[in-house]
């Protein structure tokens, strides 16, 4: 009924899909599985019409199609529940359920017909939604789980023949998941083809008939789930073990530089950690489980709501990012474009912006000579390939731009370096160079906390890895224990265990 053939997609230098394929039949629930960055979400976006593939083709009912917008995709009978919710918080439940398919004539809404359709769906979702949600409730006031259900209801009201559920259960509790699965089974009876994307292994096993496993944007296998064991799935996701990457001996010293106890903040639920000088601590787990929030909170860029941060034996009160930077904290953010740099300004200005205060004379005025020599030193230290210090950062490749961001923090001589997915979208060569920089910094005694969506990267770099789930540390791997397979399985199996606890 739906087939994806050899689809490829690049975002700039990053390959999201490189020849992914699968086919699913009417009346089938087909799972899409893969570790972080395997390209699952990109496939869904292509099917939903919000992203166009560079190569390959889509086939629906044996005909080649090319949806160019969500509307065209809907016309083909494809309904997509996105991982990123598309409910409108400022509209009420009924308006959201009907959005885009409001019944009416000559541009005027038929309010009674609309109310009937919305109420029918609302009753269907009622057991999971709770008693207090009516058609007039503002969606922005609902819990994430309830919003997710409204999103699902909205797509179901379009009566899709092909339904995509992209991490649709991420914010649902067990009873809500049960209701969704009942609905999915009914749809299967009616001959609807359901594509189910989830990182929860147990859910895939519960609901799906077959599953396609993707890795690094490629098709790995399509399996019948009736005769596949969970550990086989994990093995397929991780792939054959590569030749052991050279692991550098730890530069860890005895001095505890940073101690965090029971830290609470938006997205962070009680994290404790002790970081030594020269130590590299990795933050692992599925993406978006609070890793970035933890780093931002330690850096003072997100408000801490509970817990303590102790730096070099001194307990810190509330502080802002600017003070943290002066104390010796550095944050290399994950979103290069928006948080890390002023892309149109010169490389030199970008390099010097965070450490300006060190080179100002009598509180104002910047010595251009000192600024230039400091910038030159950083460029040499990191082997950044550039034309001139006066070129804009946007003229650099992704890898070199990322090195500029790392470099600008080095100029402020940091003690604790927080790296938030530093090699996202960086080519392999630059990755290796950034690893080298990180190791050098650790050898010089810096404490490094690194969040990465790339499990291989964590395995190569970290002395210790904390696996996060829903803002809390659920597993800790140390030294030899750290390998990709353990990282993936602890992230996945933990999520399964957490579900069972919620339901039990």
């Amino acid at each position: 009924m739906i087939e994806v053939r050899d689809v490829g997609k690049r975002y700039g230098g990053v390959v999201a899909l490189a020849g992914a394929r699968f086919a699913a039949e009417a009346g089938e629930v087909h799972g899409l599985l893969g570790p972080n960055g395997s390209g699952k979400s990109t496939i869904n976006k292509i099917l939903a019409g919000s992203v166009r593939p560079d190569t390959g083709s889509l086939w629906v009912d044996g005909r080649q199609v090319q949806p160019g917008s969500p509307t065209e995709s809907a016309r083909l009978g494809i309904g997509a529940v996105y991982q990123q919710l598309t409910v409108i918080p400022t509209l009420d439940v009924e308006q959201n359920l009907l959005l885009g398919t409001e019944p009416g004539r000559w541009g005027l809404l038929d309010r009674r017909a609309g109310r009937e359709r919305a109420s029918a769906m609302l009753e269907r979702l009622r057991p999971a939604l709770g008693e207090h949600v009516g058609p007039g409730s503002l969606v922005g006031d609902l819990s994430p789980g309830q919003q997710q259900l409204i999103e699902i209801g909205k797509v179901l009201l379009r009566r899709p023949r092909i339904l995509i559920l992209d991490e649709a259960t991420a914010s649902l509790h067990r009873p809500q998941v049960d209701l969704l699965f009942d609905i999915v089974r009914e749809l299967r009876e009616d001959g609807v083809c359901v594509l189910f994307v989830s990182h929860r292994l147990d859910e895939i096993l519960r609901i799906c008939d077959r599953a396609t496993i993707l890795r690094a944007g490629r098709h790995v296998a399509t399996v019948d789930l009736a005769d596949t064991r969970p550990d086989e799935l994990v093995r397929l996701m991780v792939g054959e073990k590569l030749a052991e990457t050279t692991k550098v001996p730890s530069a860890r010293r005895d001095e505890v530089v940073l101690q965090v106890d029971d830290l609470h903040a938006p997205g962070v639920a009680g994290v404790s950690l002790r970081a030594h000088a020269g130590e590299i601590i990795g933050l692992g787990g599925l993406q978006g489980q609070g890793q970035s929030d933890l780093l931002m909170t330690i850096f003072g860029a997100l408000p801490r709501t509970g817990g303590t941060v102790t730096f070099r034996g001194r307990r810190l009160g509330h502080y802002r990012a600017a003070r943290a930077a002066r104390m010796g904290f550095a944050l290399v953010p994950g979103n290069r474009g928006t948080q890390g740099m002023f892309s149109l300004r010169s490389i030199q200005e970008n390099l010097s912006i965070v450490s300006l205060w060190r080179r100002t004379m009598a509180g104002f005025g910047i010595s251009m000579r000192r600024e230039r020599s400091a910038a030159r030193e950083a460029v040499e230290r990191l082997a950044i390939r550039l034309g001139s210090l006066d070129d804009p950062v946007s003229s650099l490749s992704g890898g070199n731009a990322q090195k500029v961001i790392v470099a600008k923090w080095l100029l402020s001589d940091p003690v604790v370096i927080l790296l938030d997915d530093p090699t996202k979208g960086v080519d392999v060569g630059a990755k290796a160079e950034i690893y080298q920089i990180i190791r050098t910094l650790a050898a010089e005694g810096c404490t490094i906390v690194i969040n990465s969506s790339d499990d291989r990267e964590l395995a190569v770099l970290s002395d210790r890895v904390l696996v996060l789930f829903e803002g809390a540390v659920v597993a800790e791997l140390e030294g030899e224990e750290i390998d990709e397979e353990r990282l993936v399985s602890s992230a996945l199996l933990v999520s399964a265990r957490a579900d069972r606890e919620v339901s039990g």
Binding site: P70, T86, T90, G107, G300, A321, Q339
Partner: protein
């Protein structure tokens, strides 16, 4: 970097916050009470009629502005569009009662055409509404001077006369404001308006939810243009002659009315009814200032302060909620 995030958050907070929906009506009550104490015959039929006569143009542009802002846009050219519509209408009518209908249609068509220009540039070329409408305001202003270089012309007696009438004891100008409110109740029931609200709430989510975002965006400017065209007619009815310079302050006034009316500048939240209230508050405030003896040169200053006060108040009331 973090400084930028903080500033971004502050800006977002400031633009998504909005005054509670009862606020314009409370302010209106205060303004009416003040006006009544300052002026003896405030509640006489003549006074009400002429007070509402000053309301009507601003009420119309405020509703137009409200629709655009709810959709997540901004129309700084709305005053210029009203002015252009008024000079086109007065030129078409030439003081002849028999051509009033033609004049009305000309004003509407001019307004909608200008709105279409804005809409096509903003939605089609995806340029920033702020810059776009700032620029088109100049263009429309230039065309206005080309159509009518100096103040003058005669408005047909039928229009000015009707404006001073009363129907079943209620002045026509009051009826007109009620009519605008009624028009909103009809508009609210259109699919377009629903989509404009959705688009203002979250444009990316609306696009993914099958809302024809670009078309709705363009049409929101056309709607605003239509209201501006009607405002142009109201200006004529009120002043009795044409004035190419009349639209100057209306754009800021309309934004002020929208803010006072409890509409979020970020879009998605609020009702044009509030903007109607806001427009009346603003008009009354301006006449109060006149009666207290504040020279008219200081009025823009006072109005600017009112806008800032309204924004600050909305930010405060929102912070208390969370």
């Amino acid at each position: 970097m973090t400084v930028r995030t903080d500033a971004g958050d502050a800006l977002r907070r400031l633009t998504t916050t909005h005054l509670p929906s009862w606020m314009p009506w409370l302010l209106l009550l205060v303004a009416v009470a003040l006006s009544a104490t300052l002026r003896d015959n405030f509640f006489s039929q003549y006074s009400i009629s002429s007070t509402f006569a000053t309301f009507v143009p601003l009420v119309l542009v405020a509703v137009g502005q409200a629709i655009v802002i709810i959709g997540g846009g901004l129309d700084l050219s709305i005053g210029a569009v009203a002015a252009l519509s008024s000079v086109v209408a007065i030129t078409v009518m030439g003081g002849d009662d028999g051509r009033v209908l033609l004049g009305v249609l000309a004003a509407l068509a001019t307004g909608m055409a200008c709105g279409a220009v804005n809409g096509l540039i903003v939605a089609g070329l995806r340029l920033q509404p702020l810059i776009t409408t700032f620029a088109t305001a100049s263009v429309f202003g230039g065309v206005t001077l080309w159509v009518l270089p100096t103040p003058g012309g005669r408005v047909p007696g039928m229009i000015t006369g009707t404006f001073r009438l009363a129907i079943v004891g209620i002045p026509v100008t009051v009826w007109l404001v009620l009519l605008v409110a009624a028009a909103w109740f009809l508009l609210k029931r259109t699919r377009l308006m629903r989509h404009i609200y959705a688009m203002g709430g979250d444009p990316a989510a609306a696009y993914a939810s099958l809302v024809p975002v670009r078309r709705s965006q363009a049409l929101s400017y056309v709607l605003a243009g239509a209201f501006a065209g009607l405002a142009g007619l109201a200006i004529l009815a009120n002043s009795g002659s044409g004035d190419p310079f009349i639209g100057g302050a209306m754009a800021l006034d309309s934004v002020a009315a929208v803010v006072i009316g409890g509409i979020a500048l970020r879009g998605g939240i609020g009702s044009p009814l509030g903007a109607i209230g806001g427009a009346m508050v603003l008009s009354l405030a301006s006449s109060i200032l006149f009666f207290v003896g504040v020279p008219s040169t200081y009025r823009p200053l006072a109005e600017g302060l009112v806008v800032i006060a309204a924004l600050a108040l909305s930010a405060l009331s929102d912070r208390r909620k969370t």
